[in-house]
């Protein structure tokens, strides 16, 4: 029966690859690289006209001249201001929820700390949730606040990628494109159509999408309810499919319900589970393929994809293995073995309809991309399964990563790899014809180092404040893992959690909000700066001395750089958490009381 689970995992990966191949040319057309439309290849011209037709009216209404190109400084300022405007708008919306329409349960204003944390979380594409959706936010707040940021924060990530690639493609260019034009095309011409398609597919599976919010139902086994307990249940619905579709596609991850993608109304069937996993991975994979089209050499895109796959597939095999192996701490009378009529495995915190293997695939997909949606509780994963999930975030969200930002981050690693390789063999480092110099390296170092610093500083400060460390409910090394996971998630803009942690104190809400904002802005803005400085350079002609950047050797070099930074930063912390937990003597089960 384990074979069946592996076949399911393989089938979902094949579906992902097919989806990515289909959307790659579309994504490539969303961001034209040159500033002169006439030079575009014929095949893309019709798509290009359609994208302009869709985004044009919006840009005109916003008072933006369509063809206005920006310098990197202007582009960066636009990103910064757009984030700031989104943050303020969301904060005001959450604080005034009580007096706004479409609040059928009469929910009060979101408390200040939770509102700040949530605004930071959704603006930065993290979607860390320090609240329970069904009891904290009105449908109006969910749709008008969160769904909007799900779109635009993802689109901003794609814009950063576009700037970086324009840096590589353009020559002697003072400008890197127009943020408003890129944003409008990515949101309306790419993410919105995909979200409509995915949302309807999910609705067909049973993901709810309605304006009626709650139905009270008497229990079928009303006689069995203990005295003093309610014999009815309130089934909560709402505009869920529309939000789930974009939270998966935009690697956002913020669920409508507290249980996120484990809730049957967010992820009702194995087919919806496949769709949601494919939706997380397809755009990041398509980004690599589009990269090859943008730079005019498909091999370059495939090489970056290979570097991601080299880092993803072995860990996928590991996490599926760990999550389908029995938990030795459970009593011997529990049957955790797989057979034809029983999936088995450590099912605490997992759903029967997915089984442990598809839950593990979802977990590594959501942490490798910066999505953060979950269909199982990572807190209850085996120690080493939880380690894989954590490690995927700690690698800086460059293995697939967030839409746009993931690939852009990997390109920053590639520049570092080129630079190191250049130093080793004594050649001047270049990537795709552009010389890599001090400015690119300085900016690249910020991109590489800010997330680990935010993660480790945050975890360390939680550890030295006993009252804050007590937010972790599980004892021993697992408690430390919960702290480390929280800051790994916030410091890399993932958003998933070891959910037992009660992160609602002032320290937790504000420290996590700071980690999310710092690591989002201090990776995006340096990446834009790299794009600007590369765009202004000449292209160097390829010579026999040029290091080829599409070979298996180079793929390993890039993957090695990612592993090296990730391992050097996090192995000590991981040794104290999940590794210590995996090695600790097995606890003796307390007998029935």
């Amino acid at each position: 029966m384990m074979t069946g689970a592996w076949i399911e995992v393989a089938a979902i990966l094949v579906a992902t690859a097919l989806a990515a191949i289909v959307i790659a040319p579309w994504l490539a057309a969303v961001f034209p690289m040159d500033d002169a439309p006439s030079g575009r290849p014929d095949g893309n011209r019709r798509l290009d006209r359609w994208l302009d037709a869709i985004s044009g009216p919006v840009l005109r209404a916003a008072g933006v001249r369509r063809a206005e190109e920006m310098t990197a400084a202007e582009y960066g300022a636009a990103i910064l201001l757009f984030h700031a405007a989104g943050f303020v708008f969301l904060l005001v919306l959450l604080r005034s929820q009580a007096v706004l329409p479409w609040n059928p349960d009469g929910l009060p204003a979101v408390p200040w700390l939770i509102a700040i944390n949530t605004a930071a979380s959704f603006v930065t594409n993290t979607n860390w949730q320090s609240y329970a959706g069904e009891t904290t936010l009105s449908p109006w707040s969910q749709a008008l606040g969160l769904t909007v940021q799900n779109f635009v924060s993802a689109a901003s990530g794609l814009c950063v990628l576009a700037v970086l690639v324009r840096g590589l493609v353009r020559r002697d260019s003072p400008t890197v494109g127009s943020f408003w034009r890129d944003l409008a095309r990515a949101t309306l011409g790419f993410l919105l159509p995909l979200a409509i398609l995915l949302g309807l597919l999910l609705a067909s599976q049973g993901v709810v999408q309605s304006f009626a919010t709650a139905i009270d139902v008497p229990l079928v086994d009303g006689d069995g309810v203990p005295a003093g307990e309610k014999a009815t249940r309130r089934i909560v619905t709402g505009p869920v499919a529309s939000q789930v579709a974009i939270k998966q596609l935009g690697t956002n991850g913020g669920g409508y319900f507290n249980a996120n993608g484990a809730h049957p109304f967010e992820n009702p069937t194995p087919l919806s589970n496949l769709l949601e996993i494919v939706a997380m991975l397809a755009i990041p994979v398509a980004g690599c393929l589009a990269f090859g089209r943008w730079v005019g050499d498909r091999r370059q895109g495939r090489a970056l994809l290979a570097a991601m796959a080299v880092l993803f597939l072995p860990f996928l095999a590991l996490i599926v293995h760990f999550e389908t192996s029995p938990n030795p701490a459970l009593p011997r009378e529990v049957d955790q073995s797989a057979s034809v009529d029983h999936e088995g495995g450590p099912l605490e915190g997992k759903e029967v309809r997915f089984g442990p293997a598809a839950s593990a695939l979802f977990a590594i997909s959501t942490t490798a991309t910066s999505c953060g949606a979950v269909n199982a509780l990572h807190d209850s994963f085996s120690p080493l399964g939880g380690l894989v999930a954590m490690w995927m975030m700690q690698l800086g969200e460059v293995v697939f990563g967030g839409v746009g930002t993931g690939l852009a981050g990997l390109i920053a690693y590639t520049l570092v790899a080129v630079f190191v390789a250049g130093l080793m063999v004594g050649r001047s480092p270049e990537y795709l014809g552009k010389k890599i110099e001090a400015r690119e390296m300085k900016m690249g170092m910020i991109v590489l180092l800010v997330p680990p610093i935010a993660t480790l500083l945050g975890t360390a400060s939680a550890c030295v404040l006993p009252a804050e460390a007590a937010a972790a409910p599980n004892p021993g090394p697992h408690g430390f893992s919960e702290l480390l996971y929280a800051f790994s998630s916030a410091g890399n803009n993932n958003g998933s959690a070891f959910g037992g942690l009660s992160a609602t104190s002032p320290f937790w809400t504000l420290a996590l909000a700071a980690a999310m904002l710092v690591s989002r802005l201090l990776t995006m803005l340096p990446l834009v700066a790299i794009g600007g400085s590369l765009a202004a350079k000449r292209t160097v002609a390829e010579s026999p001395g040029t290091l080829p950047t599409h070979t298996p050797l180079f793929v390993l070099l890039v993957a090695g750089a990612v592993i090296l930074v990730g391992a050097l930063s996090f192995v000590p912390a991981l040794a104290l958490g999940p590794i210590a937990e995996a090695l600790q003597p097995r606890p003796i089960a307390e007998g029935p009381s």
Binding site: E74, A77, L81, E134, S210, V220, I235, P264, N273, A589
Partner: protein, 218 residues
Amino acid sequence: MPTEPLPPHRTRILPATILGQLRPACSMLVILTVITGVLYPLGMTLAARILFPRESSGSLLRAADGTVLGSLLIGQPFTEPGWFHGRPSATGASPFDPTASGGSNLGPTNPALAGTVAERVAAVQREEPSHAGAIPVDLVTASASGLDPHISPRAALLQVPRVAAARGLPMEEVRDLVAGRIEPPLLGILGRPRINVLTLNLALEALAPGGAGSPLPP
């Protein structure tokens, strides 16, 4: 060394650079909010209502007279001996509470997890005296959502003797009912074989008009 003018990408970020983008930042946010925050959810709701009226409104199960019995997708607690029991649920104060979805979040090595599972094992052994073997893991572990509507076929089959005895039905009939309600993996690949506890119990009720916990006289 002669002083060169800074290249364009090195220009200082002037306040004017930033302020010039303030107006488009606000107006783009407003316009995109209207499109993706109002029109998109609204349009999706209308489309889903037309295309998938049942699925989009919660896959509700209704009795012949139209009263809502529950949702196909949301599990309910069953404790009386005349019903098939679902998975343990860790949704706050009362089990299977859709307003507080979530799981236990107990770590894998937390002694509290092993202790809770041991208690559940003892409870199942008490309720199913005729079952000698090991207990399927899904019957003694809490799900992620706390609303998991399914159990494994084996977990349903081991409850057949108790349910049949409590309802005074022949074992064969109840076992056939269970066997006929196994949902196989989609295309033989996607998902695990499983049984929906709520619809199984509703089918059981149709089989035995006597009702739960009130075995027919022998």
